[in-house]
């Protein structure tokens, strides 16, 4: 046995040598034979003819001798050649099967690769599963003194670091550039476990009060600014006109939450420079990342943090009363954020599509095997062993699946790059997405298993016992086979129903979102962001900047009107404050939380006119509202409804809350107008209460938006130039139209809607093709019966009904199951739908109706052909 195996192996390896040796051996034989015949007195020609005849032909003998060696390899090769020929001979089957395979493998691989990269693959930090993200209750930013206390008290955390996303202006180039920065505590990189690419990262020595100002930069930044990581070390860079020494460069691709090019220190002596950060009431966008002690889980860490937060609430009631919650989740969960539901839905949809594709492939193969049963039965009858039949089918379908797998991988890569192209830019870990080979192999294996299972099944059922029955009946389709196919078809219709429901809900969501009145006119609005914070600007300089900038913006050709604001609608605002109303006493013992609150938006004159926000009562801001004039405010309808329901707010005075409820902050402001509600935080969000104030009365902010209403399109460079005309040191960035901003804000839903709809259409088509095939097959099979029926007087209506009924039962059961599944799966869509419940009966009904219509059409077409059967011909044909 072993010797034989060895010989086979040797035969494989030395194939050519063995071939030539066989040739030599046979030629030697022939020459000896010819010699013998010559000695017997024959002519050379006759001798050769005789020798060749006795040998049975040189070629044949050589072939049959060679066949003895390397038996199975040759057989598989033969099967391959035969299989390729079979596939080529039935191009329609091959193309359909390939399409189904490629569709399934490609889409699944692409979507799952995204889902895997974003949801599953561990974050690129050391022991990333021990990292947690922390914020105050409801995910709000942490007040610096609170973070400081957390750091000292928490024992379940090995380390706790703070980070604050910010931006700095590089003031070395010809035009100032704004770059994203992250201010971090000295232990930040230690907690993440990050290692420097060059130089060193922050450590405790940088946190000493006497330490020099240091910076860590990204790899990309070091290359861009200094031509390489080593060259960056020790360089002095001016960020917002302050000098920093670069001490380290991070590895390429390093990133925490948001991309940043510069990392600066956030420690007490630095915090002192951040206005208001020492206040326990000031919740800026400071967040924390912690590393759990070994063996401590998230739940117990959260329990400890709750205790600490509760203790702080008691110690500092003025600012912390009522702040008893804490937000502590695994970092991976935070990174993925609200992308998880979208991705889960997409992955679910694509899994269903793969299922449909496999089911269709299975039913396609079953169909085909039924028509090939005859061929297989003949082969079995003339002595083909069962194993050789199975091998033949395995090879044939392996060929098909192999081709499908390769094409699927290529198409998957293409879909993936297209997906990354249309993905929302804030998709977490977008840069980590690549075609995943684990995912690819799993989907490929799945389709292979499916193809092989359904492809080889018929060979298993054709055993020695029944091939003569198949031969006699002339057709291979057994009853068992057709029941299986009907089951598959029901599944297909059900899956199509689920996908169609999802897509229907998403399409409705998009329609309803587009009908929401944003409260302003979003068309022809051009914006740029800029930093009106030229260091060293005096208050007078600042005061002068805004009116001048607004004036220049309005002078740009094509601009109708323009304004400046600290926060734009849809994008939201991050300044939320408490306020008091003059004449309304503050109850004794009240804390900040008990005061009314609203979003604060400083805007220039002409803001409401530019955005076309209606002024409901009173006046809007004008150029006479300056730092020297009476402090004024304009409030929106929502605020009126919440706090001034029974009185006229015009003329009332309000004041921002200080660090205690009884303290005020800033001047008393007189309410001079009421404006309409605007969807400040996004089209799908409730309108917040808002207080607008003149920008000249509240000039400090690091970023502002210039917004211009244009006739047609105006080049954003013209708008940037208008600002640079006022001051070249002001960095301008991020030019957009408001429509673009709105599109970006809804891009997740749009991607979900598009992908779900495409998948749903594909699923419905697949189901329709499947149904068409089954009914058509059924008609073919029963031609003779139809002939008999018609000969006996059946009308074509009766024949039609016979076949429609068959299809209808399948469709009804499939849709029923699908609707049940859709209702059960509705919860997964809840986070994405808007303005419609995930179990919307109208959608379910519409889906059922549409699917019924499509599938009935799909079975009507072949059924109608049944009525055209000519009885005499049908009866004669067999």
């Amino acid at each position: 046995m072993i010797a034989r195996l060895f010989a086979t192996l040797r035969g494989l390896l030395r194939r050519r040598q063995i071939d030539s040796e066989i040739e030599e051996e046979l030629r030697d034989h022939l020459e000896r034979e010819i010699e013998r015949h010559r000695q017997g007195g024959l002519s050379l020609e006759n001798a050769r003819r005789l020798a060749l005849r006795d040998l049975g032909g040189l070629t044949q003998t050589r072939e049959s001798t060679r066949d003895v060696r390397a038996i199975w390899v040759d057989a598989v090769w033969r099967d391959l050649k035969y299989g390729a020929r079979v596939l080529r001979r039935s191009p329609r089957f091959t193309l359909t099967a390939l399409t189904v395979l490629v569709l399934g493998i490609a889409s699944t691989t692409a979507i799952f690769s995204v889902a895997y990269a974003v949801l599953v693959r561990p974050l690129p930090y050391v022991d990333a599963e021990r990292l947690v993200f922390l914020a105050e209750q409801q995910g709000s930013g942490i007040a610096w003194p609170n973070l400081d206390d957390w750091r000292h008290r928490a024992t379940s955390l090995e380390g706790l670091a703070g980070s604050l996303a910010d931006a700095v202006v590089v003031t070395s180039g010809p035009l100032p550039k704004r770059i994203d920065s992250l201010s971090v505590t000295a232990n930040f990189f230690g907690v993440l476990g990050a290692a420097p690419f060059h130089g060193r990262l922050f450590d405790e020595s940088d946190a000493r009060p006497d330490a020099a100002s240091t910076a860590v930069v990204s790899h990309a930044f070091s290359v861009r600014e200094f031509g390489g990581a080593p060259a960056a070390i020790g360089q002095t860079v001016f960020f917002s006109r302050r000098p920093y020494t670069v001490i380290g460069v991070l590895p390429p691709g390093f990133r925490y939450m948001t991309p940043a090019d510069v990392y600066l220190l956030l420690e007490p002596q630095v915090v002192a420079n951040y206005r208001g950060m020492q206040s326990r009431a000031n919740h800026t966008n400071l967040y924390a990342v912690g590393r759990l002690e070994r063996g401590v889980d998230v739940t117990s860490a959260r329990a400890e943090m709750l205790n600490i937060v509760g203790a702080l609430a008691l110690e500092y009631p003025d600012t912390n009363k009522g702040r008893n919650g804490v937000y502590l989740v695994p970092l991976s969960e935070r990174v993925v954020g609200d992308m998880a539901p979208t991705l889960t839905v997409l992955a679910g949809a694509v899994a269903l599509l793969l299922l449909i594709a496999c089911v269709n492939l299975g039913s396609l193969l079953l169909n085909r095997s039924a028509s090939r049963a005859h061929e297989l039965a003949i082969r079995a009858a003339i002595g083909g062993s069962r194993w050789s039949l199975i091998r033949q089918l395995l090879v044939e379908h392996g060929l098909l699946v192999g081709a499908g797998g390769v094409l699927g991988a290529v198409a998957g890569a293409a879909i993936l790059s297209a997906l990354v192209g249309v993905a929302p830019p804030d998709t977490p870990r977008l840069d980590e997405i690549r075609l995943d080979f684990v995912v690819l192999s799993v989907t490929a294996l799945f389709s292979c298993a499916c193809a092989l299972l359904f492809g080889v099944l018929p060979a298993l059922t054709i055993s020695a016992g029944n091939h003569d029955m198949v031969l006699r009946s002339g057709r291979g389709s057994t009853r068992q086979n057709s029941r299986l196919r009907r089951g598959l078809l029901i599944g297909e219709v059900a899956v199509a129903t689920v996908l169609l429901c999802g897509s229907g809900l998403m399409v409705q969501t998009m329609v309803r979102l587009s009908r929401v009145d944003p409260g302003f006119d979003p068309y022809n609005l051009q914006t740029v962001m800029f930093s009106p914070w030229g260091a060293g600007w005096s208050d007078a300089r600042r005061q002068a900047f805004f009116p001048e900038a607004v004036g220049r913006l309005r002078a740009v050709p094509g601009v109708e009107t323009a304004a400046i604001t600290y926060s734009l609608p849809i994008l939201g605002s991050n300044w939320w404050a408490w306020f008091t109303v003059a004449g309304r006493p503050i109850p004794p013992g009240a804390v900040m939380m008990d005061l009314p609150s609203a979003g604060m938006v400083p805007v220039s004159d002409g803001y409401f006119e530019t955005l076309k926000v209606p002024v409901i009562k009173g006046r809007s801001f004008n150029r006479f509202d300056t730092a020297d004039s009476e402090p004024v405010a304009i409030i929106n309808s929502s605020l009126v409804q919440l706090y001034f329901r029974d009185e006229d707010p015009i003329g009332k005075q309000i004041r921002l809350g200080g660090s205690r409820p009884t303290e005020g902050y800033g001047p008393w402001r007189t309410i001079v107008g009421i404006v309409g509600d605007v969807k400040q935080h996004g089209i799908d969000q409730l309108t917040p209460q808002q207080i607008f104030m003149p920008i000249l009365q509240q000039t400090r902010a690091s970023t502002a938006f210039a917004v211009a209403r244009t006739r047609g399109t105006v080049a954003s460079s013209a708008i940037e130039a208008a600002i640079h005309d006022v001051d070249r040191s002001v960095p301008v960035f991020n030019d957009r139209t408001v429509q673009q901003l709105m599109r970006e804000a809804s891009s997740r839903r749009r991607v979900a809607a598009i992908v779900l709809s495409v998948f749903a259409i594909a699923a419905v088509l697949l189901a329709a093709i499947g149904l068409y095939g089954v009914v058509a097959q059924n008609v073919m099979k029963r031609r003779r019966e139809i002939g008999v029926r018609m000969a006996l007087g059946a009308t074509s209506d009766q024949i039609l009904r016979l076949f429609l009924r068959h299809g209808f039962v399948v469709v009804a059961v499939g849709i029923g199951c699908g609707l049940l599944a859709a209702v059960a799966a509705a919860r997964s869509l809840a986070a994405l739908v808007f303005g419609v419940t995930p179990r919307d009966p109208a959608t379910l009904a519409a889906v059922a109706a549409l699917l019924t219509a499509v599938t009935l059409l799909a079975s009507y077409l072949p059924a109608r052909s049944a009525t055209r059967v000519d009885p005499s011909e049908a009866l004669r044909s067999e």
Binding site: A7, E21, H29, Q60, D67, R69
Partner: protein, 109 residues
């Protein structure tokens, strides 16, 4: 039984028997077969070579390309111990079979 239609097992047996007399090449085996059986068991030479290679795959003979006269090389086959074992066993089986056949045929007469 038609004399050209030898059962495969029988051909194997005959080849082993001839090689038992000494190493030989294909043409030699074919000639010896005819001589021994007095031309009564003429094999198709076409089936001789696959049979030889099959026997080699089974390890019952081994072969070697050896130089022969006229600048040629011939493949010379040698019986292996395993082949000899099979020869002994199948010869016994064959004789037992032939014996029973004879008995039956005699009874029938």
């Amino acid at each position: 039984m038609n004399k050209t239609q030898l059962l495969q097992g029988t051909l194997d047996l005959l080849i082993l028997r001839i090689l038992d007399l000494g190493p030989n090449h294909g043409w030699g085996i074919s000639n010896r077969l005819q001589q021994i059986s007095k031309d009564g068991l003429k094999t198709s030479q076409g089936s001789l070579y696959p049979a030889l290679h099959r026997l080699e795959m089974r390890g019952e003979v081994r072969s070697e390309m050896t130089p022969s006269e006229n600048n040629r090389r011939a493949r010379v086959y040698t019986i292996t111990p395993q082949g000899r074992k099979r020869l002994t066993k199948e010869t016994e089986t064959w004789e037992a079979f032939a014996l029973s056949m004879r008995r039956v045929l005699r009874v029938d007469r």
